[in-house]
Symmetry: D2
Subunit: 344 residues, 4 copies
């Protein structure tokens, strides 16, 4: 339930306020060069510390390689990366234990796991665990960039696979700054939309039915906390289109199309055009606004405020996480389709 993938397979563990969170990556090719610096950019992007609207909680977020790593390279054995949880302030959460926070998993976690759950900071449900996804994504991205050109027939695919996610909308505004300012003014949290584009992906990844690229990506994407929807290519606007408009005409022998309403996937399989999808990120549940919820102790609905340090707009931190899970999914497909070797 905390594992994902067929050959490149990640297993996730940890809680917001435990000593560490971690991820173990099985099926990672041997011989992949890795060092701490490789992780800095994406881990920093995930922290979003310099942007308006992100949490002031500072994590060191230094990856600790405990297994599968030797002389600066992966060994082919499971690669396990840990991150310490520093700077946790559990006390903030203790105070509101009697009131399940709306939008959070507090209520269902309590019902599902009984008195045993680690309720502090969302426990295992915490966005904190996305640091592990980002780390596995860094590994997957390195693999995707190492695709031996020789294994690809189409010259335009050379150069390695690039994955780039960017925020396209905050609070209904494409001018992101003003979307954020609106939330700051309202003393509220706000949602957003993030778009991910993958370039130079080989044709032929994915399988009809339960291993469609859309199935695998959406499966992984909904493991990111706060995501509530995903659409590929034209997505929901396809509902308003005629077939003659939506269909992408194939215009050359490589399969290139004149439009990309399919988002690079037909029949569940990549068609060599850019893979494009968008996700919606709900507003941070921990809004600064006062809210109402059931109080388990008093057995009545009460007004309360969420304490703790939280992001005004969690969407700001989603891009590197979205890239990461996309890379994880694609690395697995590339191994399955023998586009990446087991030993590099």
């Amino acid at each position: 339930m905390n594992s994902f993938g067929r050959i490149f397979r990640v297993t996730l563990f940890g809680e917001s306020h435990g000593p560490m969170v971690g991820i173990s990556i099985d099926g990672c090719p041997a011989g992949l060069e890795l060092n701490e610096e490789d992780f800095i950019t994406d881990l920093e992007r995930r922290k979003g510390g310099v942007q308006k609207g992100t949490t002031p909680r500072k994590e060191d977020d230094k990856p600790i390689f405990i297994t599968g790593y030797f002389n600066g390279k992966t060994t082919g054995a499971p690669l396990t990366i840990l991150f310490e949880n520093k700077n946790t302030r559990s006390g903030d959460y203790e105070k509101i234990k009697s009131i399940p926070r709306p939008g959070h998993a507090d209520f269902v976690a309590h019902k599902k796991f009984g008195e045993n759950e680690d309720y502090r900071g969302g426990g295992h449900f915490s966005g904190r665990l996305t640091v592990c996804l980002v780390a596995a994504g860094v590994v997957a991205k390195k693999m995707l960039n190492l695709v031996p050109s020789a294994s690809l027939k189409d010259t335009e695919l050379q150069g390695g696979v690039s994955i780039e996610a960017r925020i396209t909308e905050i609070g209904g505004e494409t001018d992101i700054e003003s979307g954020l300012q609106k939330a700051i003014d309202a003393k509220d949290s706000v949602g957003g939309i993030v778009e991910c584009t993958v370039k130079r992906l080989p044709m032929g990844l994915g399988e009809p039915f339960f291993d469609s690229v859309e199935s695998a990506i959406s499966h992984a994407v909904f493991s990111i906390p706060a995501i509530k929807g995903i659409e590929f290519g034209a997505g929901f606007s396809a509902a308003k289109m005629f077939g003659s408009n939506h269909n992408d005409s194939i215009i050359d022998a490589s399969g290139k199309t004149n439009t990309n309403h399919a988002g690079g996937v037909v029949g569940g399989i990549t068609n060599g055009n850019d893979l494009v999808f968008r996700v919606v990120v709900k507003p941070t549940s921990s809004t600064p606004k006062e809210q109402e919820s059931w109080n388990w102790e008093t057995q009545q609905v009460e007004r309360f405020s969420v304490k703790g340090r939280h992001d005004l707009c969690i969407a700001l931190r989603v891009p590197p996480v979205l890239e990461a899970v996309t890379a994880i999914v694609l690395a697995d497909f590339m191994l399955l389709e023998q586009k990446i070797k087991r030993v590099i």
Copy 2:
């Protein structure tokens, strides 16, 4: 790749123009009463024969139980159901073999499987295989209705789980008839939106991260041909909302909320409120309109028309299929959470 589920596990096989399509269901509880009549309603709904805009191809669609079925009940061994493919007209497809149809998998299938693919009618990519999903869905729905009330603590959950999908929009119109008429007038195909609502689902199904209810449902949903997006609860409109609006306040001890923007899932886990999600169905790729595509023989872009019998609006046939994959996913979660017994 053609199997899905953990305990209630389906394996799908077949092609549009082969002799049969089928599905084998592993993990189905022993002792479930089943007969042909149970399948009629959903199989008829899938055919959509009486509606404007659905294909005139008639399939008998009579389920043939070949294994796991004895004396009118499931035995606990794999339940395998076959459907014969009748009334196929492969000749229609032969003519256009040299031109990969836009929006279809023709091009990628040819690249992926070489000369070996069964190109007739989309082969294994065909919507024909959804008849098997519907059949497995009928079995899953029966299981969900048999949930022993005694295993559920909350009295309001009694009565069995209900799953209902309905079309909410065709071609941008909520008046479905006019959406269809617009396409008929334009001699074109058209897309639509289908919404699925699940009532009386127990709280606590799903797990954080890779087994979230959203992950599992979206994985299954994107196996349905023509689906290009999914959103839960408020979905994409959440991007425009503030947290204080989006959050659903918990208003009683059962976890009932005053709104349902979460669509019944928080932290990846069902919260006892209605599970609600919407999918977008692209316009049928086989539009009656003339189109352009690459011709493999002449090595140039050419105009052509798709022959064969096709739906103007494939969304019309999606509701029973969407209910089916939802039921399959939920039956599996119910077994995993021990809400359904292994022997009924």
Copy 3:
């Protein structure tokens, strides 16, 4: 539970006295030539009809390809093969329904599945289903023989992988005929030992821990009814050996060893020497001898005789089944290690 494999994945279904048994093979490379004749030899060997001690029940055993097969080749979609059950005489089993047969699954199946099980001829537990394993094994063997030599570095591995199982002992006798005669004289059934040897297998298949070659093979082997033990290389005799005798000295750069006490597997990984293992097959549970068992109706122990047509020595029919499951396991490892292409 009825599926096995990671990439080359088989799903088994059917019962002894239902209309058909079948197997669906996912992940089979596209473009593999197949025809009915390919199956004759192994299917005939499995019937063992000409040998002393095998059942007189005759099955036509003609493979029916219903999916994944087009123009004499596999298509890359799931390949499903059915076999009709002809010549069943369920009446024989009806008589003894009240007495669970010792050595058979009658008692546990009844307890596990309740009144719902298909008790006729062992139902889903029947050795009848091994016909499906043999069919999948034929496909796997063809794949293993098509290994492109170019992908292998060591010249001695060229020529394709060969898998051969043979009976080495019946009733304690290496002269098989006299072992059988002993059982015939005693009017009893008898057990045996079957040895399987795989030649020209590439080095490097398997992974430490849960995907060791021994783990995967033994997992598959114990799915064959009547197998009660397995040993690799020197096997149980290793318990009596010193390390200096058991260790196989490596004598050249290819990894060739002077002895093969490891049976071709070290650290769970093939070492390029012959893979050798032996299994023990228990005596057919349906002995002609009168036996005692509990009678569910009279609630006491009673003497009775098993009716129906049965093998005196089921070991005689095991070799092609053992080869088949071995081929299934190895084909999967070869795909995982990219030694067999996804499209041939």
Copy 4:
């Protein structure tokens, strides 16, 4: 490849000479009480420090719970346990890097993973990782002992499941001491046989074909380094028996049998009698005796001696590991059959 199980699922990672080894357990019920003391007995048994013939390497072997553990109980989230590797002497291994040790994975690991493998002390292939299996086994045993009696119909099954493995033979001697002494006198290592007995296991665990109890147990057992064979009940001696002798007569309504040649499993399913199986453990490959092997540098066969600290008889340390993997397999089956609740 380093994960195993369906609901109770373990993921293993680490190397002999890395900083830590660990295991993450998914699907562990919430609310299981655990403390360090629970692990002492089995971890000490695994070290075998007091017995003749075990390695003088001392490991602290203190379990470090990093995730899934809160207030002395499991939380329902992945339970991750680490062990530090102390007292490693990698230098011993450096010296023989040019000579692949016979019986070890050195040669195949080098060929499989290239220059990248962590060769020190066997790396990921090391028996060191069994400390993690033992830890997971402690958790599984606790679960099996907590089986709520009320869920079991047969009164004789109350009291919890017991699993006990013991050495039955060393170097061909049932008097274990003399078997060891023989090896000590010969300055050689020696093999042995270990028998595992499980009492009070419910009837009905396991499924026909690929999820037979024998399949699952043997799969897990062959992940233990040095195991080369397994047999259930009468095992290999069944080859010499007649059916009338091998069959276990059912003598009462609970399914009790007069003999137990089946080892408690018929048709792949537990029958309520003791589950009994034996494994053979090969002699420690690192014998003190001088050996021959290929030298990669000199490109010729050379005599050499293995340095480092090693067990004369690895079988001595197998019993707690064998119990552990058995408990892991059975805990998973118990969850699947709903005999253990998801929250305790």
